[in-house]
Every structure is written in structure tokens, then in C-alpha cells.
């Protein structure tokens, strides 16, 4: 049977068919939908882990316990999970283990553009690179055979366009795989130096065997047509080359990309006049090919910045791209993403943005948008869970050097559970005066509303232990802790005033209001007033001062002709932040007085 699947859906299907029993992940674009789809198969135990390191560790444990296991993450997630992964590569698997690493060329939804193919080489593990949804399924199934044959974890490296493109996929059946009974093997699994020193030789030998496998892998194959141009390509870059050049070139399609099949590439290079390496981001294959003494073009014609597309590949290899018409200047202005109408982060950013001598450290999530005009509240960000520790270092530097600035750091609830607990521990233990704000919107927002340890539900939507943010904060030794409704601007302001008044102590503010886009739980309905009656502007009262526009709410419009504000009723959810900002009380809820 054939079905239209995204790459992420096809990976989930591949895991089902491969008889995988355990899957864990932390959400992150573009890999999020893998676990969401795995959760639909009852045959596979699935879970959201608090972070990628924990997800990989849990998958390692499941593998050591004897079953086929899996973890998924976006590329920055592998930075977090790299610690257990490097050592697991030495120990080797018991039940087969594979993980998806999803890179984001073009940084559609990421803070850097790292090329994680380099990790496979550094970890000395093998790597598969699917180019479309069918290969996602096929390679996932094969990954477990390879993993168990060579006792190696397998990295499946995807990119945004492979994750989020849909194409037809031929489905197969699930093959149940019996668990491998656990046997104590200290000389392999107990990672003390004496054992690891021995394992060092074993994985060196394994890498030689994987090289041999790569030379014969069915995922590395030639397609011979016209031989003037020869293309070595992996992942979606192969599809771009194929689209542009068709039968006018010959191809060596690389699907098993670490270790590279260097001898196969050498043989292919002898059959073609000019060899091109077409790869997204870094010259990972090109460097290895050139190091093997094979002459080729690569990053001299194909850019290493941003994602590729057929036009870029055509321009690089043929010297000219597809003709197009230019558009007259001034027909469009930027449209950056913005906090949604009714977003509970707006009240916090609005009140904070007004304060002087403040440095605001943000984090990864929707609140990363708090730096844009008109809120203009954020100075900088880092990585998941970093805001409080970066804030602590800055606070220290400011007080040491006499710079009169107060540091406010913020992150969301899911980010707090991810690695923010560690950075708040730093603040508490080392007596930082950083004002730490946890923006608790009762869900993981940016990636599309995944449950987390603070939500009270698991990946399947079943009730589970709810870990209370405020109690965790108290348990970390913080004494100045207040929880506030961020949609109430007077309370938000008063809470910030209180925090600023505690000049030499750590302070934590928890803003607590559910994300306006989330599916509200029974508990949400009981705790919060979720009346979404929209607001309206009383034209008679509106003086056209545009104060409401400084909240940056996308439901507001300013009518230049009448010099009055308007609210798009279908977009407004009645958070009343603009109503509290209005100096003449011209905004109220429809039907309310």
C-alpha cells in the first residue's frame, strides 16, 4: 500500500516496521513530528523526555536492556545529547539503536546552522542520509540491521526539507524482534578508563568494517548517463541535482554517508570528465574526497551558507540559473514572526520593555520574539536553558566593573525543565542577583503544543505526575518567589518593582497563564478564566494616541484615515492587555461594560 507521508511520518512508520519498542525525544523543529507519530503506534513505548540528553540516555538503557530503541532530536539537541552518545559509541548496542538528528539548513527555526554530519565522524559511528520519505522508511528499517550487525548506534541525518516534505511511500509490515537477553559484560559496558582503553581498539576495528560495508551498501549506488558531469550527492541535495541535470549527468548517490565509500567514489570519478560534490552546508564529503587525492569541485561552486534549491545547484554547476522577472522596489516590507494575539508573554515583555538600565536575556521558545519592535524587551539569547546562567555571569561582570545595570533573564516552562533547572541552581547556589522569570504557559509552545513535565499529561495525553514549577524553584533554595498573571499589567508591574527592589538577592518570578493556542485541559479550565470574548474600540473615546499599538498585538490596526485604533474581532481573544494600556479606556470587551 502507498501512502503520502512526510519524512518525519515515514521515520515513525519505519520504526514501527523495524520492531522498535522504545522511543524518546524532546520536541524541536524540524524533528518534532517523529515522536508525535510514533505515539500513534501502541506497539512502541513512546515518551517526551525533559531534554535530548535524557532521551538518548533512556534509549541507551533500553538498548542495553535488549530491545530496539530510538531517540530523535534537532541538531542543537545533539549538542546536549553528545555526552552519552560519544561513550555509548564505545560500549556498543545490545538491542539495535538508531537516532534521528535533524539539521536545519537555512535556519528556518534554529539559532545556528551547524552541520552535524561531523558528529558521526567524531563519534566514530555510522550515518545514513535519506533524501525523501521512502528512503526515510527504508533506511530506518536498515539502520537496525546495521546497528545489530556492527554493534554500533546509527545516526540518521535528516534536514528540514526531508523532514517536512511529503511524498508517496510504500508501506510494509511490522516485524516483531525478540529482546536480546541482558548478560553482564563489564569489559564492554562498564565505562571505566581501563575498559574504555580496550574498547578504543575495538571501535577502530569496527570503523574499518563499516568502511567495507559502505563500499558495498545498496544505499550508495551509481546512475550512469552522460559522463561529462559526474555528481556525488547525499540527502535532498541529490534530488536538486537530479531535478536540474536529469540524464545530462551521471550520479553517485550517497545514502550511507559515514564512513564514505571512498573507493567507490574513486572508481566513479574515473568514469566522468568533471566531478562535482553537491552537499548542503559544510564540505564534509568534499574534504574527505580531496584528502583521498580525488580531484573534484564542491564549495567553489555550491554555497556553504543557507539551504540549497534546484536554482542554486543549476547556477553553481551550469553557470546560470532559471530566468525570472524582477519585481519593482517597495512592493513588500518585512514580515517577521510575532507573538500571537492573546499571547501571555506580551504583558511581561510590555512591562519589562519600559524599564531603563535593564539587560534582558532570553532563551529558546516563542519568547525569543520579545526583542522585536515595538516590545523591544530582549537583548540577547543563547541556547536551551541558558538564560539564567548567562544572566548570572553578566550580573557578576556588571557589579565587578561598576556598570549600573540589572539583569532580567527569562525562559519558558518546558525550557526550564529541559536544562533551566541547572542554570537556576547556579543562580541560587552562587547567590546571583539575576531576576529569573519562568514564563509558564502550561505547554511547549513554539514546536506546536507538546506536553512536558509541568503539564500533567504524557505524550499520549494520559494523566501523569505533574511537576510543579514553583515547588521546584523553592526546592532549589530560592526564597524570593512570586507567581503572577502576566495579562494583569498592574500586577506584572508591581511584581517587577518588588523584584528590582531586592538588589542583592536571587529572585524568581513565575508568570502563569496558558498559551492561547493550546488545547485547554480540564485543569486549565478550572484554574484560569478562559473567556475569549473579543475586545472592541469605542470610536468616540479613542483619541488616536496609538498607545495600544505599542503592545505589538497583531489583532490591532491603526486606521490612518480616521486616526483611530481598530481591533480585528476574529483575531482578538480578549486578553485585555491593550485595554489596560489605553489612557482613555476606549477599549473594552464586546458586550461588557
Amino acid at each position: 500500500m502507498k501512502k503520502l507521508l512526510s519524512g518525519n511520518e515515514a521515520i515513525a512508520r519505519g520504526l514501527y516496521e523495524a520492531g522498535v519498542s522504545f522511543a524518546s525525544a524532546y520536541p524541536g523543529t524540524p524533528s518534532t513530528e517523529i515522536l508525535e507519530n510514533v505515539a500513534r503506534y501502541d506497539e512502541i513505548y513512546s515518551e517526551w523526555a525533559p531534554n535530548e540528553k535524557v532521551a538518548v540516555e533512556a534509549a541507551i538503557g533500553a538498548s542495553m536492556g535488549g530491545v530496539r530503541s530510538f531517540a530523535a532530536m534537532k541538531m542543537v539537541g545533539l549538542n546536549v545529547a553528545a555526552d552519552p552518545m560519544f561513550t555509548f559509541a564505545y560500549q556498543g548496542i545490545n538491542g539495535g539503536m538508531a537516532f534521528v538528528n535533524a539539521d536545519d539548513p537555512g535556519m528556518h527555526s534554529s539559532q545556528n546552522e551547524q552541520d552535524n554530519r561531523r558528529y558521526a565522524k567524531a563519534m566514530k559511528i555510522c550515518m545514513l542520509e535519506p533524501a525523501d520519505s521512502q528512503e526515510c522508511l527504508d533506511m530506518t528499517r536498515a539502520a537496525y540491521e546495521i546497528s545489530e550487525k556492527y554493534e554500533s548506534p546509527v545516526m540518521i541525518r535528516m534536514t528540514t526539507r526531508v523532514d517536512h516534505s511529503k511524498s508517496l511511500v510504500e508501506l510494509g509490515e511490522r516485524k516483531e524482534v525478540p529482546a536480546v537477553p541482558y548478560v553482564k559484560q563489564r569489559d564492554r559496558l562498564d565505562d571505566v578508563p581501563a575498559v574504555s582503553k580496550q574498547r578504543r581498539y575495538v571501535i577502530e576495528e569496527r570503523e574499518k568494517q563499516l568502511k567495507e560495508y559502505s563500499e558495498n551498501s545498496p544505499f550508495n549506488y551509481e546512475e550512469m548517463h552522460d559522463t561529462k558531469i559526474g555528481i556525488v550527492a547525499s540527502g535532498v541535495a541529490y534530488m536538486y541535482a537530479k531535478e536540474v541535470l536529469g540524464d545530462k549527468a551521471s550520479y553517485l548517490k550517497i545514502g550511507f554517508s559515514y564512513p564514505l565509500p571512498i573507493e567507490k567514489i574513486r572508481a566513479f570519478s574515473k568514469k566522468v570528465d568533471t566531478l562535482y560534490v553537491v552537499e548542503e552546508l559544510d564540505p564534509v564529503m568534499e574534504e574527505q574526497i580531496k584528502a583521498a587525492g580525488i580531484d573534484c569541485h564542491g564549495k567553489d561552486v555550491i554555497p556553504n551558507i543557507d539551504e540549497l534549491n534546484p536554482n542554486i545547484v543549476a547556477t553553481g554547476i551550469l553557470g546560470k540559473g532559471f530566468p525570472n522577472k524582477t519585481v519593482p522596489d517597495g512592493l513588500f516590507v518585512p514580515r517577521p514572526p510575532a507573538l500571537c494575539a492573546g499571547c501571555p508573554h506580551r504583558g511581561f515583555f510590555y512591562e519589562l520593555g519600559k524599564r531603563k538600565d535593564t539587560v534582558m536575556v532570553g532563551d529558546i521558545g516563542c519568547y525569543a520574539l520579545g526583542g522585536s519592535e515595538p516590545l523591544n524587551a530582549k537583548d540577547l539569547g543563547g541556547c536551551m536553558g541558558s538564560a539564567f546562567s548567562i544572566g548570572h555571569g553578566m550580573s557578576h561582570a556588571f557589579s565587578k566593573s561598576g556598570q549600573q545595570k540589572r539583569v532580567v533573564a527569562c525562559m519558558g516552562d518546558s525550557t526550564f525543565f529541559h536544562t533551566g533547572i541547572n542554570s537556576l541552581t547556579e543562580v541560587s547556589y552562587n547567590k546571583s542577583n539575576t531576576i529569573c522569570v519562568i514564563l509558564d504557559n502550561r505547554i511547549t509552545g513554539m514546536t506546536g503544543h507538546q506536553d512536558n513535565p509541568g503539564s500533567g499529561y504524557n505524550i499520549k495525553g494520559e494523566p501523569t505526575t505533574l511537576i510543579d514549577v514553583e515547588r521546584v524553584v523553592h526546592a532549589l533554595g530560592l526564597k524570593n518567589v512570586r507567581t503572577v498573571n502576566p495579562n494583569n499589567l498592574a500586577d506584572m508591574k508591581a511584581t517587577l518593582d518588588w523584584a528590582y527592589s531586592l538588589e542583592n538577592e536571587p529572585v524568581v518570578i513565575i508568570t502563569r497563564w496558558p498559551c492561547v493556542l493550546k488545547k485547554f485541559s480540564q485543569e486549565d479550565a478550572e484554574e484560569f478564566n478562559l473567556d475569549h470574548t473579543p475586545c472592541v474600540v469605542d470610536e468616540e473615546k479613542c483619541i488616536g494616541c496609538k498607545k495600544c499599538m505599542t503592545t505589538g498585538c497583531p489583532a490591532l490596526r491603526f486606521n490612518l484615515k480616521d486616526k483611530k485604533s481598530e481591533i480585528v474581532e476574529s483575531d482578538c481573544v480578549g486578553c485585555r492587555v491593550c485595554a489596560q494600556v489605553c489612557p482613555v479606556k476606549a477599549i473594552s470587551r464586546k458586550g461588557y461594560k
Binding site: 526539507r161 511529503k166 534530488m239 531535478e243 534546484p310 514580515r335 510575532a338 522585536s372 505589538g552
Partner: protein, 194 residues
């Protein structure tokens, strides 16, 4: 790629471009085409500029196109039509929804929303413009504007010999079948004979 048709759907996060693309893709598959559809998730969905691509033909390799490759651009919003116009082939055409959604820099007064976008684009491109939101509202559900635009797209592509009504009936929830069929038909009529 000579036998492949490239459709680029653009708009503002939350306008339903992905749903329209999905219906189009499923319909094309049912009718025997090889199809690849590509969408972007994550941060840009928060009110940013979004694009979805549908490529169909006998055999499709790349899931995305680059500049100068689209046969047709369907813009759910006027300014987005201009932003993505460079992706059209020199003989490519546009379907534009007569709708202006100001972006954050416009709302905060940093820049003005550009004027006369459709008129300017008409100087260089064949443009079929329609007020999908008004049409959808008249039919009874403003949210079906995306299906109005889908109808206009199908008409503009000349894919009218395929049985779309049967497919739409089987795709949407029973209580929305009537309104969506009407929306689809109205979209087709809005650009027919132009």
C-alpha cells in the same frame, strides 16, 4: 523537470495555506500524479511569511523549487505575492487574494504597508485577483477562503477535468462539505473566463 508543474502557495502564518496544499496534493495523487509537497513549520508559523510548495508530474525529484521555477503563485495576501514573485517563471501566473494583512513593522509604525501592489504586479505578470474572504463570507463561512483560493488555483491550472467535488466531499468533515463545495465552485467561477 519539463513535465513537472510547480505550484507555490504563500501567505501569512495561520491563513490555511497548508490545508489548501494538502487537499490539492491528495487530489493530484488520486488522479495518478507523482507529487511532492513541502511545508515549513516552527517559528515562521507565528504570524510570519509562510510558503508551501506542491510539485506534480510523471516523476518528481526535488521537493522544493528555487527562483524562476514556479508555474503558478497563489498568494493568500497581497504583499506576499510581491515577496515571492521572483520564484515565478517568466511566463508564470499569479492568483492573488485581495487582502492586506499588516506585518509587525507596519503595525508599530516603522514602515507603511505598500500601496497598489496588485496594479503594479499586473504590469509584469498575468494576475487573477479575487476577494476570497468576501466570497467565502457570502457563502456562509469566512474560514473557507482557502478553499475559494484552491478553486481559483484549479481553474487557473486547467485541472478542471479532475473530479474535485467527490474528493472534497470525502476529505472534509460532513457538516462542512456543502460550504466547501460552494467555496470551491465560487473560486473557480471567480477566475473563469479571464
Amino acid at each position: 523537470m519539463s513535465d513537472v508543474t510547480n505550484v507555490l502557495l504563500v501567505g501569512v502564518g495561520g491563513q490555511g495555506t497548508i490545508l489548501a496544499s494538502k487537499i490539492l496534493t491528495m487530489g493530484l495523487i488520486e488522479n495518478g500524479y507523482d507529487v511532492k509537497m513541502s511545508e515549513v513549520h516552527g517559528m515562521s508559523q507565528r504570524g510570519g511569511s509562510v510558503s508551501t510548495q506542491v510539485r506534480f508530474g510523471k516523476k518528481v525529484y526535488s521537493p522544493i523549487i528555487g527562483e524562476g521555477m514556479a508555474d503558478i503563485l497563489v498568494a493568500f495576501e497581497e504583499m506576499e505575492a510581491a515577496r515571492y514573485a521572483k520564484f515565478l517563471k517568466p511566463d508564470g501566473k499569479m492568483v492573488i487574494n485581495r487582502l492586506c494583512i499588516p506585518s509587525l513593522p507596519v503595525l508599530s509604525g516603522q514602515v507603511a504597508y505598500p500601496e497598489h501592489i496588485i496594479e503594479s504586479l499586473k504590469q509584469d505578470f498575468p494576475v487573477l485577483d479575487l476577494d476570497a474572504t468576501r466570497i467565502a463570507t457570502e457563502i456562509g463561512n469566512p474560514k473557507s477562503a482557502n478553499v475559494v483560493l484552491l478553486g481559483a488555483l484549479v481553474q487557473a491550472l486547467g485541472l478542471t477535468n479532475l473530479d474535485w467535488s467527490d474528493f472534497i466531499s470525502r476529505t472534509v468533515k460532513p457538516k462542512f462539505v456543502d460550504v466547501n463545495l460552494k467555496a470551491f465552485q465560487a473560486g473557480r467561477e471567480a477566475v473563469a473566463n479571464r
